[in-house]
């Protein structure tokens, strides 16, 4: 998978922004999960776009070892049923950025890769500038603890948001 090849060649504390076509986003994240275990020991996934239960279903179907993932689910607490799991922490809302930041601080320490799925939905809930400020502080945190990060954004997102997000990125890839 091109994305993972690219991210594994980046330095330990680098950030990749992945711009996905709207229809592709879902598949890309799941494919990333499937292949990431070949390159990374532990992956932390922040989901603000789909519930943890979707991932769980896909993982079962594809026989993926869920124990090597840590999920931070930002949407189930508000909108759907939470599936109790030792691998998933539920955040009260996608607007609860402080809560998310604290949880990420805990979960990202022993992760080799953090995947944020995705910036477009976080921006929808929090507005562009607040989201960018949050992502800037996250990127700084990941650089400090030497964790790679991958931010997904859908290509239909406002062009300015894409350009501004690119400021924190070490590489930008469109798929």
């Amino acid at each position: 998978m091109e994305v993972l090849k690219l991210i594994s060649t980046l330095g330990k504390n680098k950030n990749l922004v992945l711009v996905c076509k709207n229809k592709k986003t879902e598949n890309v994240t799941m494919e990333l999960c499937k292949h990431s275990l070949k390159k990374f020991k532990k992956v932390c996934i922040v989901t603000s776009n789909r519930p943890y239960s979707d991932f769980l279903e896909y993982f079962k179907k594809n026989k993926i070892d869920v124990s090597r993932f840590r999920f931070i689910d930002c949407i189930s607490a508000n909108y759907m049923q939470k599936v109790p799991s030792p691998n998933c922490t539920y955040i009260s809302s996608p607007r609860a950025l402080t809560e998310l930041s604290i949880e990420l601080g805990r979960e990202s320490i022993d992760a080799d890769l953090v995947i944020l799925d995705n910036v477009s939905s976080l921006s929808f809930y929090n507005g562009e500038v607040l989201t960018l400020r949050f992502l800037n502080s996250l990127t700084m945190k990941f650089r400090k603890i030497k964790t790679k990060s991958l931010f997904l954004i859908t290509s239909g997102t406002n062009k300015e948001t894409l350009a501004n997000l690119g400021l924190f990125a070490d590489k930008i890839l469109a798929v």
Partner: protein
Amino acid sequence: MVKKVLIVDDEKDIADSVKLVVEKLGYHAKTLNTGTSVVDLLKKEKFDLVMLDMLMPEMTGRQVLENIRKEPKTKNQKVAFLTVVQLGQAGEQSVKKLKPAAYFQKPITDLAEFRKQLKKLLD
């Protein structure tokens, strides 16, 4: 003639603190809390340096500088960023294209160095 600096930051306290530093160095300073009116102001009034925050609502610093470079009357304006944004490698390349004169990191931790760089930009 005393040199003039325009400080653009949506956080009023920060803009005012930078203004104090600039004025203590003997320059004139003016503050704006939004990026939207920067180009219009620059068309009317001459500034020797514009200090731009990056992450501002309505219009980010990057957009403001893009607009400054597009406008024939302001395209050669000396601009520096003063921001919390820690640029990535791709970010550095895209900002370089806009030719900022300097990039200062917020918060300012070394005031003496900041003053030195500012003087270098203005003298």
